[in-house]
């Protein structure tokens, strides 16, 4: 085992070791115990009111089997599930992969890289709704900026992007990636910057440079963070409503709907909120394992990158 591998293994062992449990109250006694409860109570009350209660209410709303019979009999439902899987699968994984690659660029220490990072973050800082509505107009087939530019520069008429299912879905995924890529890049960049420099120095002593250094130091230490980010973003993407609703509007002919937009349509266009909740609840078989996996990863990686 090389020096680097030993160092990485030792580092993992040290920072990955879970603290010994000291019971429910962490060994707090007497007046401190009362104070601890007093400070925790407001949070517990807020948690009960704004997390536990809405979730229970939602489960109650979507608890009737008849709702699911109605949902599954809707000819749009299966296509919506397929769209959601494509949206989450591509939208999350492509973005995280690109974000990880970009960290290699933004970790450079030149001043212009830092300046570029500020510009790069702008889509994340832009309010979502105007951004997505602008993308919708940008892609307008007849009068949109993209096709107008194509005509002015090359004298060609571009396609009517949002009239096609696959182009519409791609536009939604592209808009989602564009909006959230900076955030995940910064998160992964922060993780990458906190890799101890000593490990790279040890790797250099072992003669590992470039790709080998990346493979044996960066990748193993970043893997956990990368996985946590992927799981977390999958949870976000499953519930994402904005990009689909404001870019393609779920069209054409509702062929780009995802579960979040279909649920909102049932709830507020059709006026049957229970069916809307059932639509979102039908994602639970995918969502719950993701959340459980995420929580396990977070617990196992206390103190790790």
């Amino acid at each position: 085992m090389s020096t680097t591998q030993q160092a990485v293994a030792i580092g993992r062992g040290l920072i990955g070791r879970r603290p010994v449990r000291r019971g429910w109250f962490g060994g707090v006694h007497g007046a401190d115990y009362v104070w601890a409860i007093a400070f925790a109570l407001p949070y517990a009350a807020i948690f009960l009111a704004f997390v536990v209660y809405p979730i229970c209410f939602g489960i109650w709303m979507g608890s009737s089997l008849a709702l699911y019979q109605e949902l599954f009999s809707d000819p749009r439902y299966l296509m919506t599930v397929a769209n959601t899987l494509i949206y989450v699968g591509i939208g999350v994984n492509l973005k995280l992969f690109v974000a990880f690659l970009l960290t290699g660029f933004f970790i450079r220490k030149s001043w212009w890289t830092k300046a570029l990072l500020v510009v790069f973050i702008l889509p994340w800082a832009t309010p979502a709704l105007p951004a997505y509505i602008s993308i919708h107009w940008f892609l307008s087939g007849t009068w949109g900026l993209l096709n107008s530019a194509l005509y002015d520069m090359f004298n060609i008429d571009g396609p009517i992007y949002l009239n096609d299912r696959w182009m519409g879905l791609s536009a939604n995924i592209g808009a989602y990636i564009w909006k959230t890529l900076p955030f995940w890049t910064v998160i992964l960049l922060a993780g990458r910057m906190s890799v101890p420099q000593e490990l790279y120095e040890a790797a250099a002593v072992d003669g590992a440079t470039g790709l080998r250094r990346f493979k044996h130091v960066t990748l193993p230490l970043m893997a956990n963070l990368y996985l946590v980010c992927t799981l977390l973003d999958m949870v976000f993407a499953l519930g994402d409503f904005n990009s689909t609703f404001f870019v393609s509007g779920g069209g054409p002919a509702m062929s780009t709907e995802v579960l979040a937009t279909l649920g909102i349509r049932y709830a507020f266009t059709l006026g049957v909120p229970n069916l809307g909740v059932a639509t979102v609840m039908s994602a639970l078989p995918v969502l719950l394992p993701l959340v459980i996996l995420l929580m396990r990863k977070l617990r196992m990686s206390e103190g790790q990158l």
């Binding site: 007497g30 007046a31 009362v34 104070w35 007093a38 109570l41 209410f57 709303m61 109605e70 009999s73 809707d74 000819p75 749009r76 919708h136 307008s140 087939g141 007849t142 009068w143 009517i160 949002l162 009239n163 519409g168 393609s248 509007g249 779920g250 069209g251 054409p252 002919a253 509702m254 349509r265 049932y266 709830a267 507020f268 266009t269 059709l270 006026g271 049957v272 909120p273 229970n274």
Partner: protein
Amino acid sequence: MSIVSRRLLLTGSLGAVAAGTLSRPYIANAAAGTATVWATQGFVPAEDEAFRKTVADYEKLSGNKIELSSMPFMALNQKSISALTSGDVPDLIFHDAPTTILPQNAWNDKLVDVSDVVETQKSKMTESSLLNSSFYNSVTKQRSYYLCCVKQGATPFHIWGDLVEKAGFKLSDVPKTWDKYWEFFKPVQTELRKLGSQYRKIYGIGLQITTVGPNDSTNLFNHFMIANGGKDIVTSDGKLHTADPAVRAAAEHSVNFMTGLYKDGFVPPEALSWNDADDNNGYHEKLFVMDFDGTLSTELASIKNEQAYWHEMVVMGLPNGNDGKPMPMQTGAGGGFIPKGAKNVAVAKDFMKYFMQPDVLNENLKGGLGRWVPPMVQIVKDDPFWLSSNDPFRKVYVEEGTLGPTIANYYGYNPAYGQVAAEQLWTQACAEVIKNGATVQAAVDKAFKRAEEIFAKVSFS
């Protein structure tokens, strides 16, 4: 000592929190003379001012208090549906177009019967406004009034008159029957495009054949059905008549005609994926010559542009149907409704009784610049505001929405039509023809089959 005082402090704090929590319902229970009212924010500021004035006048007269919250249309829609679901409701919801909310909630017995309020003005109201106010309750097993209607919306044609003239045509020459009326704008487009590159992508017809925004597309198709003799696709008894040969023929003709306009290149291609605002934006940018869209909001949005408002925009009412006979306008109704669970039903009803008085109602609608038309014919006849020529659009609009023949919206006849609209079955049928090459008959068959499935779930027995 210090421990005891901490305990005392903690006990006291917890006691105060508990007392605060327990006393909250008392605060929420407003005084007897106060009603909480949620209202749609107006499209133009004048509408909000008019509503606030009506509220202030009522408060002064009655001594009651109205706690008013105004919010945009979509926000009110969502908040109202959420409130009706959770049971935490205001005393009165004042909505411009409650078609998504009322049929379903009246069916589920979640609204207060307001027949006693409507009764005070019933004799003065138009038949369609009364039909638009009544819904079936599946618990009481009868139809009753759940909306206090104070306004109606109609759908006129919005036309850039200057573009028609530039193309060498006169609006006075527009044919008087439905299909020919639409076809008039085909050569307008052709001639405009000959005028230069600035008109390279102008279109004659802003046909809302969209499969994205359900409101406009369903309204458009309903009027095609009316024009083609298929207005009885849903009747006031709540029944669907897809087996009626006249209805089927009307649907097939409508889909054929609409898809023909699209495929022949007279409709912007992305109309298939327009959202509710896209046609308005396109029209204001003069990207097409004509649009068929609800209310006068299209014109009122340009009221500060004198050239456009007074010299370029034109509003026209409905032509005759394809049989040459006058076709009725399908109107929508707005007004107040009271959710069950409201704490001050008496004040809410009292306010609506006040609001529905012809004088009050008229002043309110006039204050809103006439974007909505009165549901009472006599108001229009008595007040010169509505028919005078001091506005270029109002006379045509009120003639179409109040004085002309009107029918009620299908939503009120059967809540199932709300799902038909939400699934956009009619423009989905058009999309089947345009995008997938289906025959008109096959597309209509598919849409009718789905409509029948949806209606089969709703039983009036």
